[in-house]
Amino acid sequence: MLIYEFQAKALLQELGVVIPAGHLAETVDETRVAAQKLGGQVILKAQILSGGRGKAGGIVAADSAEKAGLAAARLLGKKLITAQSGGRGLVVKKILVEEFVPPGREIYLGLVVDRKNEKLAAIVSQQGGVEIEELSKSCPQAIKKEYFYPEQGLLFFQARNLAYFLDLPEASFKTFLDYLKKLSEFFLLRDMKLLEINPLIIKPDNLLVAADIKMDFDDSGLARQPEISALEDWSELSPEEKKARSFKLNYVKMEGQIGCLVNGAGLAMATMDIIKLFGGQPANFLDIGGGVTEEAVSQAFEILASDRQVKACLVNIFGGIVRCDLVARGLVASARKIDLNKPIVVRLQGTNEAEGRRILGEANLPFYFINDFEQAAQLAVSLSQA
């Protein structure tokens, strides 16, 4: 789970990491007042749950409270489309108004769960403010990593190795080690997946300021992290996403015309892939999961059917734990509630498939039953292009 920059900065500040002075603003007026308090010269940072804001115009400088207000007026309510936000973009509702930090050396500091090594990695680079993954390809020698065990934590010599690699001024050395220690402990304590300070600015007075921060928490750890769970902002979710979340459906919106309803993540991906293979475009990823209820199936189907981009639906169920008859009942319940004017291709395999088909058949709705995976996909594609 990603959290907002302003939330992450508040957490860091509690740890004793220096952050730029700043205030959160949700209106033009609040922005102006905040800028005034900060002396006029400020940076406005759109608060959205996605990286790549800068390039998308989400970060704006202003040299007076007046101009800050004008910039806020342009920013608030704007849809930002970043490299990571997906096509639909994210609406700016909050702005972090921060003091202007004069340029200085910028470094990168990251902590991450490293899947490949099955350890944690602390990563630094002398080049801050750039994308670390691109840097790791273009200039691997500019990056240093130290791997450590979660039960042991980052070792002191490892922190020192990183600090020497960065060739820090002596006056910043101890602070950097202190930051690393606190951040790595916080990372472990809070079940994080990723913590990035990028850039960490070395000010001319050698103060280390965390100018931008990204924090991502392990979703599986949230159950024991109530303080972190409480930071989740449901208002960022679309109504469909909210509905999906509340019914424990794995739903990701995409850009195509074919709504997919599948059980199992792998089969759901494969269903998307086969649609693409036959020239169609999936409108979503949707895995109804193993413990799904009739009600949840029904809600899932409503999400698809009410998507105006969707021209046809493909239901692909391989019954195992999930029973085909349960899915069928959910579909029928939903189709009766909404005005179903889209063709639905249904493939049911496995547990109780016959019963499922019987239920759907009796419902007198625009279902196409296809037993073969490939034919089902082909039909869905051609229906979506009709």
Binding site: V113, R115, P150, A223, M269, D273, I274, G320, E374
Partner: protein, 295 residues
């Protein structure tokens, strides 16, 4: 033969008295699997599904000498259960539970490595050696004994693949779900190595998906080892967007790592037959095996 599991395997179920565990334990027993005991702390001394229940793995091991443990324990207690199984001397542990925190699994894996125990999962349907035994939650009916070893990161997609294989008369030696989480136990490399020396297995089917580097590691291993058996692979998620988690906690393309395109490229370069159409998994494996026999 088969790998990891055969008709002599003695199964322990941790968390046996839970609803899901009970259901699937019954299915395993119906399939003829030798489930010998269960563990649920606080219910030691009871019987459940006709099986003795113990408070601790230690006690279950002392009394019933199981060699595989299957874990149906809630997420925040599951890593501890995995370590308990390893400390109890179990050499193969199958963790069905989904949603275990990453850090818990990292600790558990280090613990297991030192004790020499192997883990399947977590977030896996488990494994099955058709006709011999089932240590997991997959629908048994679609499986047939046969020559194809199957290693998969997915659940229902594996059932789909098995269904296609069985319909074409191609049975499976052992089919293993390695789990959909970022941190899992045995992966493609270790299992390919086991299938290599399994006499029943004539070809291996890999079902990969986006996220992580397990397929890349497999490709490197296959190349390096001059793998002697034909291998086919389907990798799900060619259409997956970057940075979005698709169902599985492990199925996410992070940064420049983990795209299906990259995985397919690596596998192809290692001589693996790539399956592009998920509806033709069985067909492709059949063709591949026929070609090799033709040579």
């Amino acid at each position: 033969m088969s790998i990891l599991l055969d008709r002599d395997s003695r199964i322990l179920i941790q968390g046996i008295t839970g609803r899901q565990a009970s259901f699937h334990t019954e299915r395993m027993m119906e399939y003829g699997t030798r489930v010998v005991a269960g563990v649920t702390p606080g219910k030691g001394g009871q019987f459940h599904l006709g099986l003795p229940v113990f408070n601790t793995v230690e006690e279950a091991v002392r009394q019933k000498a199981p060699d595989i443990s299957i874990i149906f324990v809630p997420p925040l207690a599951a890593a501890d259960a995995v370590m308990e199984a390893a400390a109890g001397g179990l050499k193969l542990i199958v963790c069905i539970t989904e949603g275990i925190p990453n850090l818990d699994m990292l600790k558990a894996k280090r613990f297991l490595a030192e004790l020499g125990s192997s883990l399947i999962g977590p977030n896996t349907p488990g494994l099955i050696s058709p006709g011999q035994g089932k240590a997991g939650i997959m629908p048994a009916s679609i499986h047939r004994p046969g020559p194809v070893g199957l290693i998969s990161r997915s659940g229902t997609l594996t059932y789909e693949a098995v269904y296609q294989l069985s319909r074409l008369g191609l049975g499976q030696s052992t089919a293993i779900g390695i789990g959909g989480d970022p941190i899992v136990g045995l992966k493609f490399v270790e299992l390919l190595e086991m299938f290599k020396s399994d006499s029943q297995t004539e070809a291996v089917l890999m079902i990969g998906e986006i996220g992580g580097q397990a397929e890349e590691a497999a490709a490197e291993y296959l190349k390096r080892s001059g793998y002697p058996k034909p291998v086919a692979a389907y990798v799900a998620g060619l259409t997956a967007p970057k940075g979005k988690r698709l169902g599985h906690a492990g199925a996410i393309i992070e940064g420049n790592e983990g795209s299906a395109q990259d995985k397919v490229k690596c596998l192809a370069a290692a001589g693996v037959r790539i399956i592009e159409n998920p509806a033709r998994i069985g067909q492709t494996v059949k063709e591949l095996m026929a070609e090799r026999q033709g040579n």
